[in-house]
Symmetry: C2
Subunit: 132 residues, 2 copies
DNA sequence: ATCTATGCAAAGTATTTGCACAAAG
DNA sequence: CTTTGTGCAAATACTTTGCATAGAT
């Protein structure tokens, strides 16, 4: 019936994402995977990402105007992202400053199940440089 | 030199966005604009949106996995979006449950200038239907 | 041996651009 | 009249899909 198979490309793609310092775009994932398996195809990356996403092993991160990015989902508790407006790097934050527990109902009758927050500003490095 | 011209399509596209109850996708904007100007082209919609976005008259809203949406930028108050996980409609919320004033510095030295929040859950209508 | 996964290329979407004509100023 | 805007179609970018074959079990 339905059996999931362990292939070198799947292993490699997951590793690439797990070894990255931040969320990667599809093209970056392809590039890095190709250093391990030169002939790997773009379609395989997309198919594998869809699979890993379903299994919760990776998370898709969408930032306005950018390509989708992917980050490991394994060690992942609830977290958010910080985008530096100067260097455009994306950071992962531990803090969740949103005062809405899942299950809350907002005025108007909106029952909240989840939320995504993206903070914009200056990362420590760029903030220092600005001040100087 | 550089002169901006007032055309019927620009007026119409802005009106369409301003008269909408929530942020609209490009195809929805095109459809509605065509009820006023049957022959209006898709490229014109994109070009006009880019222009209006630059001028701050409309804001682009990006939700994961969806087409970009556009909403009026005139009534510039701080607000967020609620996406119904059942009917996929997008609502605009008045409440801001994020406890981070602009200018705050997070642990780690991240200076926050702005934030985007998207809530997911069930809108009043779908919530009722689920309960029944 | 069986059936899933891969790689390629083709097909889909979403968005942008080149160009001749229309229209605003 | 001059210059910008429009509509169309072609071009791009990103993502998905069909199919024959490679590869996992």
């Amino acid at each position: 019936m339905n059996a999931r198979r362990n292939t070198r490309q799947r292993e490699t793609i997951l590793e690439v994402i797990q070894n990255a310092s931040g969320p990667l775009g599809v093209s970056e994932i392809l590039e890095r995977a190709r250093t391990q398996i030169p002939g790997v195809g773009l379609a395989t990356v997309y198919r594998t990402l869809a699979m890993l996403k379903e299994g919760g092993q990776v998370l898709e991160v969408n930032l306005p105007g950018e390509e989708s990015r992917f980050e490991p989902g394994t060690r992942h508790h609830h977290h958010h992202h910080f985008v530096c407006q100067t260097c455009h790097k994306v950071f992962e934050l531990e803090t969740c400053p949103v005062g809405i527990p899942a299950g809350s109902v907002l005025p108007g009758g909106f029952r909240v199940a989840d939320h995504h927050l993206t903070l914009y500003g200056f990362c420590p490095q760029c903030d220092v440089r600005k001040a100087a």
